[in-house]
Symmetry: C2
Subunit: 448 residues, 2 copies
């Protein structure tokens, strides 16, 4: 068997040996990172992160790596764990639609934590992130769709490969130890879909980030893995339920880029809800609607949308998968950002009142991701608007400016409004940073 | 669905609520721990452990938990990682034959690391270990044999459940958070058979130990998991290839004890070789044979034994799975301990010379685990000896004294001969220790 027949060998050579990354890919990397910083900073002070920092902080204290949107620091493995969790906490981060991987959280978090501790450049960070995300999504392609369908939380299980590859690149590892790092990652790949609605989800995602660092550091120190740890008969893909997609998944490395298919959410709720919100916002703006005028709201969509409808809304999690809540806040406030999906918004009386006026109706023929919203007004008028491709979809991607605004809003929520413009400006010019530590200071909350 | 229908709920109630452990089970726990300490101390200074400590030590420095057989200390998660690795490094530790789990390494290591940091009693350690090992083996039963056959390294994948349960017990968690700890473990279960012949194996085993601590600490701090994280449709057992054995695996909790089926190796090599060594030792002793008298050695056994035979021996790993090497050292030295499986022994000229005289012959009708060794002597005599159940098998278990001698020899190899008697004596009376820290000091190597 030739070395180049092994998946890990090919990926290792690609990660270690790719020098000229296309400008378009580097730019998409920055878009992913701007979105990542906003999400992570926005959720940095969430209760789930507080708990995590209390537990991990008992061990990693005195570290050099920033926790985004928090005042504390930890060692790189623990900081990567926490930052991956905060970025992915609300599933408000990015989505590689083919695999449903949230690519950036488990890959950017370890790269940034290690880069900060070692004072690496912005260019090194950007390249490591882009290459790691590429590995993560391609490994995901190889085992999709059966992997997620069996119960593997693919953001966690494939995230660790991306994290290992990215940190290996950042450390400057040659092809062979990078191959070993990927193989070591195979013995750490974990996370189940059953746990998605609980805090245990965070542990899977955070572990992927942390374990990628460990895989790369151990490979750097001489630890080896089996040549076919990913694809072998008793390796990761076969054990986890089969993966015969390696051929296509490994094709056109360096010419086809999975990261270019990354998508970003304009609203912190289930992606199938986004067309509903777009339609409500359009109706509100075009017709100058205020809530008092609305007698009834009818939402139409296919079964995938309706599956999430008609739930009682008692908390934030319910709100994020409720058609009624999404329509109500968009119509009431003209926006659907993080503030509209807090516990306070979920329990708000005005919101609840408007939610009760919303009915969801199956329109089986409508395409996935589309929605029609019809308003019956108190004066007897009926207004309707259909959205076929929601903002943030591949057909209607968020612009750079949209991403800047989204991250700015999240930083504002986190009490870091003053740092938003300087931080985001520096992220758009990330390759000019000579030492990541300066940039990272802008992400820290100063309120204990 | 009733709470008691969930696997995690039943295991959580068992772990948190079992007070009177049978004396026989507690004694088997001590046997497992004596064996664990010997193995871990014996391998503490192995190169694989040095590397691991160099990498992990960059982060966990200043910790309070002893690394067995080493001069350094780390925080509990990292110490648990390292000690689980050293205990299992040579597969010289224990074996739960039904699942082929090495039960003690991933469970005892986290219990000891946390107990030492918190100054807990010997009784608390013993009970936590026994209950954790029980959970580990029962979860293993539920998914065996298909789990290992698919490529999951069951010591790592099930070890994390045992580690989580044991640490939860040590922390005094009530049934519900113990249930959550097991569910959080489900999102961290990892390790593949493909990597077994490499250092990546260590990462799987060490991670299980470390992640069990994290699962228990996070559950203590309020992190929740899905009720059916282990057995649900999208949970761990189904994702990893199915497990329909929960009924039998959960039966007779507290009356049937898997730990009573634990076995211990007298020789640091493949378990199928043990009967070969026993037969050689018997022939040598009974007939006063010296190597010069031997013209030829013929080993007979079934296909499982022969599968490992006729390999070239270039290093320690080869030696441990070589019929020829095992027969040669037993005949030459009258022992087959750790010193007979070092790199020096593998390359020794006298050993190599005797290895060349050994032929392995298939005897398909012989039972698993049996071997016949026949010696053709220079004077024309032919001597033969058959062993049906090797020392250390369930039919011929190592005695407490055997285990003491094994651990004593390992500690001698590690330069800790003077501490062996006091340490092992205290382990046999573990329930009398009021603070684990005293005992742990005896395990430390003072040579940097």
């Amino acid at each position: 068997m030739n070395e180049t027949d092994f998946v890990g060998a090919r990926l290792g050579a690609f990660v270690a040996g790719t020098d000229a990354l296309p400008p378009q890919v580097l730019h998409e990397g920055k878009r992913s990172l701007v979105n990542f910083f906003g999400c992570a900073i926005g959720s940095g002070r969430a209760a789930a992160c507080d708990t995590l920092v209390r537990v991990l902080g008992a061990f990693g204290a005195g570290g050099k790596s920033t926790l985004l949107g928090r005042p504390d620091r930890l060692d790189p493995p623990e900081a990567a764990f926490v930052n991956a969790v905060s970025a992915n906490l609300l599933d408000y981060d990015d989505t590689h639609l083919r695999t449903v991987i949230h690519p950036t959280a488990p890959v950017a978090a370890p790269v940034l934590a290690v880069a900060e501790a070692r004072g690496r450049t912005g260019r090194a960070v950007l390249e490591a992130f882009v290459l790691g995300a590429e590995i993560e999504c391609r490994v995901g392609n190889a085992v999709s769709p059966q992997h997620y369908a069996r119960g593997w939380h693919i953001t966690a299980t494939c995230g660790v490969f991306g994290a290992a590859a990215a940190v290996a690149r950042l450390l400057g590892l040659s092809p062979e130890p990078t191959w070993h790092a990927l193989g070591i990652a195979a013995s750490q790949s974990a996370g189940v879909v059953e746990n998605l609605a609980t805090a245990a989800k965070n542990v899977g995602v955070g572990s992927a980030a942390r374990n990628g660092i460990l895989a790369a550091l151990l490979a750097e120190a001489g630890y080896a893995a089996a040549p076919a740890a990913l694809e072998g008969q008793l390796g990761w893909a076969q054990a986890s339920g089969g993966g015969d997609g390696w051929g296509e998944a490994m094709a056109a490395l360096g010419t086809r880029w999975e990261l270019l298919d990354n998508t970003y959410k304009p609203y912190p709720c289930g992606i199938v809800m986004h067309a509903v919100i777009d339609a409500c916002l359009a109706l509100r703006q075009q017709h100058g609607i205020v809530a008092e005028q609305i007698a009834a709201v009818t939402v139409q969509g296919n079964a995938l949308l309706l599956a999430r409808g008609d739930r009682v809304v008692n908390n934030e999690r319910d709100a994020r998968v409720s058609i009624q809540h999404c329509a109500a806040v968009a119509l009431l406030y003209g926006r659907a950002g993080t503030r509209e999906f807090t516990q306070a918004a979920a329990l708000d009386r005005e919101v609840a009142q408007l939610r009760r006026k919303v009915t969801a109706v199956l329109a089986a023929e409508m395409p996935v991701g589309a929605a029609t919203v019809a308003l019956d007004l108190a004066d007897g008028r009926r207004l309707a608007h259909t959205v076929l491709a929601a903002r943030g979809s591949r057909e209607s991607p968020l612009t750079d400016r949209d991403l800047t605004e989204k991250a700015t809003a999240s930083m504002g929520d986190a009490g870091l409004a003053a740092n938003a413009a300087p931080l985001i400006e520096r992220l758009w010019a990330l390759e000019r940073e000579t030492d990541l530590r300066g940039l990272m200071r802008l992400t820290r909350s100063n309120t204990g």
